[in-house]
Assembly symmetry: C2
Homo-oligomer: 354 residues x 2
């Protein structure tokens, strides 16, 4: 069966301010020293499994130009522009409806656009297993990441009985507190929920119809209009009318035949500035340094210069990001608070900095 | 007797990089929120004692324009331009020789250009006492600062017998280690050496002649040429030939009739970026913040924005200074290492940043 990929690229990436802006969020930036953007890496690593013409990018309408610029090999009609943000369920329904017009049925990999994978061969092999499971029935397959520590920032997948290449999913659980996360890890029965899904278009459409009939109807109307002159108007009308819903809440927690394939392929969600030292090489003092930087005794710090010199003297565990109009200096313990800077800028009406 | 002031303004102020540059060192900058430069404050606080036409500024030839700009009330002929840096003894000899041409004899206050004084009335009264002692004989008077803690970065003055308004100086001592500094403080017989001196021009000239006859001869030739067409050439020749020597080593440690007046007038030598939070008002989190700054949980930090936004998130005890072409991020424990940044820039030949 034809294998297609749907890359979800509508995120705002606020945790990477000031490098990411609402006009150019994280997935369109490079956070690695090779200069390749996150979304380029995402598509490139799929090449052994999915051809460029079968890759669909769902993104906000404001970012279609950025997608074209970063991914010139993706056909323009494969860039699916959401008129507004409605979370993952409407996004997936939109893509599934379009793909089901193009192919009678197909396998659909649903993947985030802004994660990194360390071991790409293992990744591809894991996806191939998931494809096999997805093809063999009306199964919804999620890739679970084998945890390496009790992270409290991710949701978890509780799995049960082994079943061929996959495990049956018992339930999805929300972000736990630390003692609960430790219990999950100790049990050997929980995986991180990575937000990667594999299923047949027909399987996900059947489940959307069952659990979100309103969204199914709108998606079918969007699919019917695809390629026709009225498409933009129909999309605008139907998509805007969707409620905001995640595919986890809307479908995965309710549907039957949910399976998970455990993956151990060096997954990193690149969730904050802390990730940059993980995903890049650091120097002898465990600093990641980019651009014109003079360090005098800096340690365990991430320092990215823009057009000007950064002199870092005696600093430890700090993140310094310089751009043309803003400098961020952030303690490694406070990377989640970068969002609060954006909140203040929004309050002050300083949209040019957001 | 006429009271004159000699302001020594040749310093490079490297510890205030990147705000201070070799083209505009600390004394010509404002480090306080009122925007007044250090040298302006120095002259202004002398007004009750010394008229502008009796204030002489000794500075490097490269800075004469800066002096004119910052101090338009000082007569141009009172700006004494050293062709090169030769430490304080030649500087003082030059000024004394010039003043002795202008006035038969006069009292000469010798003052740094880049210190701050909290209590200006007490300061002026202390100087007045010193003037009285200086007028009454061939005395060399130094202002000693009553220590408030065992500082290891200053030299100390060991004083003895009280003698009118002053104390006889037993000896000058170099920067001590911490146990020695603590002993000094406990003894009640040591003051900080502030580098402020008061004497008659005739007294200092007599001592220069006795202890540094070579410099005395050159200085007299410079004085003789003052106001004549050949002045610049004579100054260039004689001053360049001087050896580098401090007035402390060259005269104060050898001369007789050395007195000190203890001063408690909120003196601050503004020796590093650490001083900025001392000399300015801080917010509830003990930050000193200047310019366009968003703080999310910053504490005990000094943050000076230039033309761009600085976002400081969760940082503690840090100094952030932004300028057009360089940003400094420095731990409060490492402010002395700012000089190492300049050393690296010099090695790299990046003089435009120094």
């Amino acid at each position: 069966m034809k294998i297609t990929a749907v890359i979800m690229a509508g995120g705002k990436g606020e945790r990477f301010w000031p490098k990411s802006r609402s006009s150019c969020p994280k997935q369109f930036l490079s956070l690695t020293s090779d200069g390749e953007t996150m979304i380029q890496k995402t598509v490139k690593r799929l090449a052994p499994l999915v051809a460029a013409e079968d890759v669909f990018i769902v993104t906000n309408a404001a970012y279609t130009e950025l997608v074209r610029d970063r991914l010139p090999d993706i056909p323009c009609e494969n860039i699916l522009a959401e008129p507004c943000a409605r979370n993952t369920a409407p996004c997936i329904a939109f893509a599934a409806a379009v793909i089901s017009r193009k192919y009678d049925d197909a396998v659909m990999l649903v993947l985030p656009s802004d994660h990194l994978i360390g071991y790409e061969d293992i990744y591809i092999n894991t996806l191939k297993k998931a494809v096999t499971v997805a093809e063999s029935g009306e199964n919804l397959v999620t890739i679970g990441i084998t945890p390496t520590y009790p992270e409290t920032g991710y949701g978890y997948i509780n799995f049960g009985r082994e079943c061929g290449n996959a495990y049956e999913v018992e339930r999805f659980v929300e972000k736990p507190d630390l003692p609960t996360a430790k219990k999950y890890i100790a049990s050997g029965k929980y995986l991180w929920n990575s937000g990667m899904f594999v299923w047949r278009v027909s399987s996900i459409m059947a489940n959307i119809k069952r659990f979100m009939p309103d969204i199914w109807e709108g998606a079918v109307r969007i699919g019917d209009a695809f390629g026709k002159p009225e498409f933009t108007a129909v999309l605008e009308k139907e998509f805007s009318a969707f409620r905001s819903e995640s595919v986890d809440f809307g479908i995965m927690e309710k549907a039957e035949n949910i399976y998970t394939i455990p993956g151990s392929f060096g997954w990193d969600d690149v969730g904050s500035w802390l990730a940059v030292e993980r995903i890049n090489e650091t120097d002898d003092s465990r600093n990641y340094i980019e651009g014109d930087v003079i360090s005098v005794g800096a340690e365990r710090s991430t320092i990215c210069a823009g057009k000007r010199l950064i002199a870092a003297v005696g600093v430890e565990d700090i993140i310094i990001i310089d751009t043309d109009d803003a400098v961020l200096v952030c303690s490694k313990n406070s990377t989640q608070d970068v969002k609060k800077v954006i909140a203040q800028l929004r309050e002050q009406g300083r949209t040019e900095l957001i």
